[in-house]
Subunit: 225 residues, 2 copies
Amino acid sequence: MSLHSPETGTDAAPRRGRGRPRKTADERDDGNRRQDLLRAAARLFRSQGFAATSTRDIAAAAGMRSGSPFYHFDNKEALLAVVMQEGMESATARQAAAMERSTTGLRRGQTLSAREALRVLVRNHFDVLLGPDSDFIPVMLYEWRSLSEAQRIEVKRLKDGYEAVWVPVLQALHASGELQGDPALSRLMIFGALNWSVQWFDARRKATLDDLTEAALQLFLKEAK
Amino acid sequence: MSLHSPETGTDAAPRRGRGRPRKTADERDDGNRRQDLLRAAARLFRSQGFAATSTRDIAAAAGMRSGSPFYHFDNKEALLAVVMQEGMESATARQAAAMERSTTGLRRGQTLSAREALRVLVRNHFDVLLGPDSDFIPVMLYEWRSLSEAQRIEVKRLKDGYEAVWVPVLQALHASGELQGDPALSRLMIFGALNWSVQWFDARRKATLDDLTEAALQLFLKEAK
DNA sequence: CCTACCGATCGGTAGG
DNA sequence: CCTACCGATCGGTAGG
């Protein structure tokens, strides 16, 4: 919802006289105008794609004029890179918190089984992909090619950190026979199965994120031997 | 590889005198100039995305001048839609042929097990996604949102036809206990696992499409009860 | 299928 | 952060 009427024709519409309405106190700076831009960019990049989204669209969605995003970001690509970086940092923090919660809930001496650990990771991943405020990670997944080479390296580093938590869990499941086949290929296919949900999941339908988690575990895991 | 030097500045460069070189006999019409455009478009849409690919890029890749694609297609969107439609028709035909081959190879009275049928479908799907001439289907998978509503309906119809072959196979595997959990969710996740390979598969690495097929079956299937 | 072109839009900037 | 603007590029077309 833009606060302004759309800019018609060139954005140098005369509009003399009393001019645009002043912004009220709580929409002025606050230091979070940059965050507003990032959220608007994430939403538009997700729904329309990076190349199909103009910086004017983003500005309007954040209640700014067409040139203003460039006060906060060097260029359009930098906006994309920051969306991905903040998304990955937030996702990694949420993942760590979810694992932490599950571990501290255990009785002394007890450890989280690999199966339960995978459930926590999968459930959190669905939340990151499909829950509230979930535009950032889908953008990272589906706009990879729009990054410059240097940006790709940085985002890949964050992505590797996120996935690293999964590796020992999948190895333990492989060792127990609950997961079969090459664990590296398994990991890629599991992420594929989960990440693809961005394409088809509809929150208005009946399936919940818990349902998806259960279906995923049933699909991937064998009984322990 | 364009036959022409790039058009510099406006595409109304003077270039008087002897003009551009005549095209030799075997690059002239043939009736397959349209196919050249489709192949070029599929390749560029896959690697750069629809919105980031200009109709000039496509024309150049097919050895044409900037206005010529519009002799063959009404507009850029129509090009995308035809890429997807031809891709789906070809994939469905190849899938039917693969199933046919596997069935006729059997001795009289024998039937293809559901497990073997799934192997054939998965292996063919990897070929469609990652084999030679495999640009069309990835474009369909990842440029869905660039279609108009009417085009989406038509492409969805073709996609449903392709997926319909999988449904009884997955149901049989569910009935035998080899596949667990809701078969509809299983199908979506299996396609996700396979389709995601477009993002990471590198033909120069060691894993073959047979390896991927084997890994997929090991990941999804339990032992028959 | 090419030539020559148009109107619209886009990313980005200087100066305030 | 806005105003006013620029050069480049884009999809598409008329006429041959």
